[in-house]
């Protein structure tokens, strides 16, 4: 049996490693796939990486690409501004479920409607991580968080936000919209590459939600963490491609 040693992506910034994400956090996996995708497509020098304020802020110096922090929920419009000013740059916005579906929802909606040629990657771990585990738009019904201590009540707070579904409903035909999961790495990387390619080809908006883990705030051990991701979360959030201008996709 041969064992492959995973190589550190060239587009990763070595001085900021080891990174500061918690043990068991899915961000590290997503950013690995993103780094490999950037390397495969050869766009390191043109890529602008924007991150939100939340756990994603820890990625501000993660890549050996020009990067900027923005404000909570405002990564979308900052990326739009950069892209409108300099269309040759590849703008990648990175955020969580709080920044993308709550405070940033109007920006996500409008970027999709205007078919902005940026790529948005959203890490969905069903809570506000950095601020200590409050309920978020993607918290599951019955799930306990710091602001739903007795379990999320959909009567009072609505049902979980189906992000890629709502983006796909308003996006143009040449947009790319998908949902991946950190438990299926090859698929995650493929979707990220498709998303970036959509921007490189100048087609339109691209959006990938990635189901991810947060054992720190879920207060779960390794086994429970993975079970929640693969069993509970995937049941609520189907994985696949919702809009794919490159072909039939695998949805």
């Amino acid at each position: 049996m041969t064992t492959a040693t995973p190589a550190i992506p060239k587009s990763w910034y070595l001085p900021s490693k080891p990174h500061k994400f918690c043990p068991g956090c899915g961000h590290g996996i997503i950013l690995k796939a993103l780094g490999e995708a950037i390397d495969d497509l050869g766009i390191q020098d043109q890529t602008i990486f924007g991150c939100d304020i939340g756990c994603s802020l820890l990625a501000w110096n993660f890549f050996a690409c020009d990067s900027t922090q923005t404000h909570h929920g405002r990564t979308n419009p900052v990326m739009v501004g950069i892209k409108r000013a300099r269309p040759e740059l590849i703008c990648v916005g990175y955020m969580g479920d709080g920044g993308g579906y709550s405070i940033g929802s109007q920006h996500l909606l409008n970027s999709a409607v205007r078919n902005e040629k940026i790529t948005v990657i959203l890490c969905n771990n069903t809570n506000y991580g950095m601020t200590g585990g409050q309920m978020s738009p993607t918290t599951l019904p019955g799930q306990k968080t710091e602001t739903s201590p007795y379990g999320r009540d959909p009567e009072q707070t609505g049902y979980p936000t189906m992000g890629p579904e709502f983006v796909a409903a308003v996006a143009s035909d040449n947009a790319y919209v998908a949902r991946a999961t950190v438990s299926k790495y090859k698929q995650l990387k493929k979707y990220l590459k498709n998303a970036l390619t959509n921007q490189i080809q100048g087609n339109g908006f691209s959006f990938v939600e990635v189901l991810s883990t947060c054992p720190t705030n879920w207060k779960t051990n390794a086994q429970q963490t993975w079970a929640f991701l693969e069993d509970e979360m995937e049941k609520q959030y189907p994985v696949g491609e919702f809009k794919n201008p490159f072909g039939k996709g695998d949805n």
Binding site: K20, F21, C22, L58, M130
Partner: protein
């Protein structure tokens, strides 16, 4: 009692904030003034966890301080992060399991003490009560609260766990006592802190 300032630092997960909270509560229950504040900035995520506690008979002023009367450092990274809190009046304590060269220790201190808390926790008691040994050591070093008050505050905080498993109570009390004895023994070499 005059103002006593303690800085406690270690890695996330070592239980630094827990023992700081229990000590502050024990002092408060003994009708002393107590003020406890954790370092809660972004540096805490993946960084060193520090607790700042002050005890006094009088109303306590600002929640932060530049120099501590007692510093307790529980990990490699906690030492460089806390050396600046030490001046010639400070009792600087570190876990003797930490491999450290003399230049890394504070240049100014009243006394520098290493106590083998981690070693004893791992080999004689249980790794989980490492922080309780440290709590006992703080009491041994400063007499900031009575041993009884500390046991009572510990009982209060861990009531649910003790109810499920009464053997835990004995383990924790033992850890507290061992820590106190360790500290008193170390102090004998250099003289007491609170006259």
């Amino acid at each position: 009692m005059a103002l006593l300032r303690i800085a406690l630092a270690g890695e996330g997960g070592q239980g630094v904030q827990s023992i700081a909270e229990i000590l502050a509560e024990a002092a408060y229950n003994s009708d002393k003034q107590a003020l406890y504040i954790p370092n809660f900035g972004l540096e805490q995520r993946g960084g060193v966890s520090i607790a700042f506690i002050q005890f006094s008979d009088e109303r306590i002023g600002a929640p932060k301080f530049n120099k501590a009367d007692v510093v307790i450092a529980l990990s490699d990274r906690a030492i460089p992060r806390t050396v600046d809190y030490s001046d010639q009046k400070t009792l600087y304590v570190y876990d003797s399991g930490i491999k450290i060269s003399p230049e890394e220790l504070p240049s100014e201190a009243k006394q520098i003490i290493g106590i083998p808390a981690l070693d004893i926790a791992n080999n004689e008691l249980h790794p989980r009560v490492f922080n309780i040994i440290i709590m006992g050591a703080v009491i041994g070093l400063t007499n900031v609260v009575s041993f009884e008050a500390a046991k009572s505050a510990l009982d209060h905080k861990l009531a649910a766990k003790f109810e499920k498993n009464p053997a835990l109570r004995d383990l924790n009390y033992k850890a507290l006592e061992i820590g106190k004895n360790l500290a008193e023994k170390s102090l004998k070499e250099g003289g007491a802190l609170n006259e």
